[in-house]
């Protein structure tokens, strides 16, 4: 566990961080985000004492970093720089070996570890061992940079905008891999970026920094849905939520006033209700206070009945050929699952089967289009 307690830092007269307090649990992927110059990189560099802090304290697993020598501390914390930060005069192998050497790993174990590390970041050791950094692509250099951070198997890895110089495809690929590695090897990662998409994609928790203070520190979903203040909202972007369908649930966009009838009502009553409301379906629930969904009656089905059958109970004419979703089903899943041509109405249930609301095609469309509408407005 890493506790950052009331940390302040200034450069000359400029206060860069003011009274920052953040607690990071083990094995969490934390993303620190903010506009350039907000102090996010400074905060990162305070943790491994690349920069000295003015006030406050940082406690890693119960030990204040003030009591540890900087060089010793940094050997126990992985660090990934933008563009890898590899030593240009050393081969890939030598770059990794250098770190292993200062970590006091015995010579005979080093070569095996180098191969292991390169395999871990999906680089063929036989091919790349003896390459020099200038012979690698940006993505490959960054892979070696990640491998170097993992070399001495530290519990904590700091990453300073590691992927920002890469092309979008490579960036996505590496983001996926770093999240995978973090989970697989159970590392605590603190990752600095200015890219909100990257933050949402990777983070267990996001720490939004504004002018040296923590504006919000929470899970990505919370930050998207409930920005703590205008700054966060603006930084996150109003459209951001709609661009991330996995954070939008059915309950966020459903209508909570479904037109519903008890199953002991008649077909005629259902027809009248539909005409009155100008709709083509009615949801049928069980009698009683819990309103368990039983089925749907469709206008076109009722219109096929002759007048004599108008007195039939709804329980006899209802259709079970419909799709429903739960309140916490994500927009992503709804889009994936629902066949638009068939379902005019999508009932929304809670986990006990009670009817809570409904969705229609047009609601889904409007939810998805919100993102673009905002973009236009912003333009």
């Amino acid at each position: 566990m890493i506790k950052i307690e009331h940390v302040s830092k200034s450069y000359k007269d400029k206060l860069v961080l003011r009274d920052v307090s953040v607690t990071v649990e083990d094995n969490e992927f934390i993303v620190i985000i903010g506009s350039s110059g907000c102090g996010k990189t400074t905060l990162l560099k305070l943790i491994n004492k690349l920069l000295p802090m003015d006030r406050g304290n940082i406690i890693i697993n119960g030990h204040s970093i003030r009591d540890v020598q900087g060089t010793e501390l940094r050997r126990k914390i992985g660090y990934v720089l933008q563009d890898g930060g590899l030593f240009p005069h050393l081969t890939v192998k030598e770059n990794l070996e250098l770190v292993l050497k200062i970590g006091n790993m015995p010579t005979e174990k080093r070569v095996d570890r180098v191969f292991e590390l390169l395999d871990m970041v999906n680089m063929d050791p036989k091919v790349y061992c003896n390459s020099y950094p200038c012979q690698l692509s940006g993505g490959q250099r960054q892979r070696v940079g990640v491998a170097r951070a993992f070399a001495l198997d530290p519990d904590l890895i700091l990453m300073d905008e590691p992927f920002s110089a890469l092309d979008p495809l490579t960036r996505e690929e590496l983001q996926d891999e770093i999240v995978k590695l973090q989970k697989e090897y159970k590392k605590t990662v603190i990752f600095v970026t200015h890219d909100m998409d990257e933050a949402i994609k990777c983070a267990d928790k996001i720490c939004v920094i504004e002018e040296g203070r923590v504006a919000q520190f929470d899970q990505p979903e919370e930050i998207l849905k409930h920005p703590a203040d205008d700054y966060v909202e603006k930084f996150v972007g109003r459209n951001r939520l709609w661009g991330n369908p996995s954070y939008i649930h059915a309950s966020d966009i459903m209508s909570t006033k479904p037109v519903q009838l008890s199953k002991d009502r008649t077909a005629l009553q259902a027809l009248q209700t539909m005409r009155k409301n100008g709709i083509n379906s009615v949801l049928v629930t069980a009698a009683g206070p819990r309103k368990i969904l039983e089925g749907v009656v469709w206008l076109e089905d009722l219109q096929k009945l002759d007048d004599r059958k108008m007195a039939l109970r709804l329980s006899e004419v209802l259709s079970v050929d419909y799709r429903f979703v739960f309140e916490d089903t994500t927009l992503q899943e709804i889009i994936d699952r629902i066949d638009y041509d068939r379902s005019g109405i999508i009932p929304v249930l809670n986990r006990r089967g009670e009817l809570k609301g409904f969705l229609t095609k047009s609601m889904l469309l409007s939810a998805l289009s919100k993102r673009y509408r905002h973009e236009e407005e912003e333009l």
Binding site: L50, T71, L81, G85, F87, H89, L98, Y132, C134
Partner: protein
Amino acid sequence: MNGLLEVFMQRRGELLELFIQHMEMTSIAVLLSICIGIPAGILITRWKTAANVVIGVANLMQSIPSIGLLAFLVPVVGIGQRPAIIMVIIYALLPIIKNTYIGITGIESSTMEAAKAVGLSGFQTLLKVQIPIAMPYIMAGIRISAVTAVGTVTIAAFAGAGGLGWFINLGLNANDADLVLLGAIPACALALLIDFILGKVETALTPEGLKPADKICYRTEKERKKRICWSVTAFILIFFLPCLYTLSAFLKPDEKKVVVGSENFTEALILGNIYSILIQDNTDLDVEEKFNLNGTMITMSAMEGGDIDMFTDYTGVLAPNVLKLGLSTDTDQVYEQVRDGMEEQYNMKVSEPIGFSNTYVFAVSQEVSDKYGITKLSQLLEYAGELRLGCTTVFTQREDLLPKLTDEYGVSFAEVNGLEGNIRYQAIQSGKVDVIDAYETDALLKESGLVVVEDDIGFFPPYQALSVVRDEVLDEYPELEDVLSEMDGAITTEEMMEMNYQVDVEGKTPAETAREFLEEKGLID
């Protein structure tokens, strides 16, 4: 070309020795520069305010003319290799400091941050990251320094340090281009050779990863170690091996020896050789020769510092320049003043006059002599207003020479051109000037067929040649006194002129000429 070949064949033994001496001085200076320059360059990267000061001072020192620096150093550190090496270090230091500084500060900040972030200590960073990455720059600095040093060392000959500058100096004195080339060509070749070898070392020490991607050639650790081994060997061959030469001299037991010094013009060199041979052949003392010192001031500081034990000079030089005596043209009076003054002020014994005098004379071309009917100084002064004078700067400056002519005799020449050494003879022969100042024993005076103007008014100060020995040396080796007195009155002006002629015109070495003279006179067997 034939002349050069001949000179080379004649002096090849001497050439080899001077070449080694040259390499040795270059090596010591460059090695010391490396030892000072690289740590200094590294240090100032960590202390930025010092960087401006150090680089500023190094720049400033670079701009001091080398001969001036040498003249400044001699009174402080004496003559010989010491001032020479210090001078070369001063010039060689800047490129090394500057390149080390630039090489290290030029390293990308992300690389430095990475070094810190992975947990390298300051010293590890220096050793594993900064120095390897800055290596190409540092080596380039060493290359520049070494090449410059080879050139600067030639100047060192003026302070009696030897080296290839000796030939250049001799050649300039004797107006002998071949002799100049004999010094200059090997110096040039040495510079190119050092540059070539250090270039190879530089390539070997440049980490592959820093080369352009298409030039990278992966080498196994074993291969790299081998290359570095070769580089270090080459480095040692260039820089350390020549130093062994000096070291061996240090290890020799201290023998009974006398150091004979001499200034850097032909006559002084011949006299230096005469004394050297005379002492070697007539006593069991060893003689070390420290010839080619640039002027009386340097020889006198060398005498005072004990770097040399004896030298030859002239009453007309010692009286005004060393003893600051007033002007007098009375030969005996000046001699006595010099003899007493040197003893009292410097504890040096001045010998009886060697016999010849080497005072100033005016010389005119045959045509001018005929045209104006000039053979005597009084006649020359009458026509001075129509004549163009070419003379040394000393002649224009010394109060008892040109200023005295102007002030006391009211004489002014049509033109006064400051000309040095043998250029005066070229100028008068090509008709650019009408009158030159000359030394009475100049070989070229005999060669060039000029008319020597007789001093019928006793204008010029006396210039009796004599030897000067430190009293301490005479106390230690009393046998010297008898040997040195053999030279009292031993050389006439004509004989001296003849010897100068043999060296300057006929191309004999001063040593040969000296030995022949001594044999002829029966002073040695």
